[in-house]
């Protein structure tokens, strides 16, 4: 039982990482990962929404009508995203500006709908929360690593501190995001063989 819980929590971090194995949530990964701080914030917000949505769906799974389940999931996810959006705009306005349109777009993040539909709606509350935590951590890990890489190589800084005298600006542009993600895929595939 303990092993099952542990597996629920850890599978999303490397083994079944939603970004690198299912290519889910690529829009924010490519769009927001220009700075380490922005990436981490996006990852944590998504993690929070994912955990709350998965917990709610698991809790309500017996009363949600199967015919309208996707509609219910989207209403629940939208409610948590809107709440996060309002809270961030009130208490962290600078972060709200940095995340921009990608914050409300969490509603259509494939990872959240995927985990609520495939896992949370069929499992108990504890497993749903652990799965959401693991998947959210996996997403946060990838977007943050990408953000750190792109900020260092693309801007020559990390968290605003200058590390490199020169930088390759292409890494901060959309083609650079794909290039950085490809590099991450190479590292991840090697890592998965070792694990």
């Amino acid at each position: 039982m303990k092993d099952k819980n542990l597996s629920c929590l850890t599978k999303g971090i490397i083994r079944e990482n939603p970004v690198l194995t299912m290519l889910l949530g690529l829009c924010p990964v490519l769009g927001v990962s220009t700075t380490a701080a922005g990436s981490l914030s996006m990852g944590l917000t998504t993690l929070l929404v994912l955990v709350c949505s998965a917990a709610s769906v698991s809790f309500l799974k017996n009363i949600i009508p199967p015919r309208f389940r996707l509609l219910c999931f989207l209403i629940i996810i939208s409610a948590f995203v809107s709440t996060a959006d309002i809270l961030i705009s009130a208490y962290l306005p600078r972060l709200h500006k940095t995340l921009g349109i990608y914050l409300p777009l969490i509603v259509v993040n494939g990872i959240i709908l995927n985990r609520t539909e495939l896992f949370a709606s069929q499992n108990n509350l504890k497993s749903a929360i652990l799965d959401a935590l693991g998947m959210g951590t996996g997403f946060t890990l990838i977007i943050t690593v990408l953000g750190i890489f792109r900020e260092i190589v693309g801007a020559g800084t990390l968290l605003g501190f200058r590390l490199l005298p020169d930088s390759a600006l292409i890494l901060l542009l959309p083609p650079g995001a794909f290039f950085a993600l490809a590099c991450l895929f190479i590292v991840f595939n090697r890592l998965r063989k070792v694990c």
Binding site: T34, T35, L60, I63, I64, P65, R67, F68, L71, C72, I75, I76, S78, A79, S82, T83, I86, L87, S89, A90, Y91, P93, K97, L99, G100, I101, Y102, G154, A155, L169, L172, L173
Partner: protein
Amino acid sequence: MKKTPSLFYQSLVVALIAAVSALLISVTHDLTDEARRQSTYSEEQKALKELLGTNFDNNPCAEKILISSPDSEEKLEFYPARRAKTIKSFAIKSYSDFAPGGRMEIMVGFNIDGSIIGSKILSAPHNIIKPAGNKASISSLAVNDAVNRAVGAYKKLNSGGLQ
């Protein structure tokens, strides 16, 4: 065989979930209203200080008035910066809908003779700012449009005499 619930029951559940979700959003919105107002206020204060310096002894935000836009029904905000009760400079909060992705808001600072001191972007759609946050990358068409609107509003106001 499991009995399928009636359409009425299914609709009721969906409506209940929607109602609880709406309640959560509205409660959060109401609870954070003051904090949001404060953050907008401090952002305006910061922009005014950057544009108009410290050559005023009033609170332009407290004295802001709404003025007519030169080309639409929409009102613009006018912030007078006074020293010894006389307007020394002022700022106008303008906007442009030419920014790709939505509305851009800009604060334009003016000397009392109508010459522009500078401008500061208050909000812009995310996709018109380069990732590095380079200000030069903001759509120049949108900035021009917003500044022109502020100038037009000033001219319209000035025809009635600034006090």
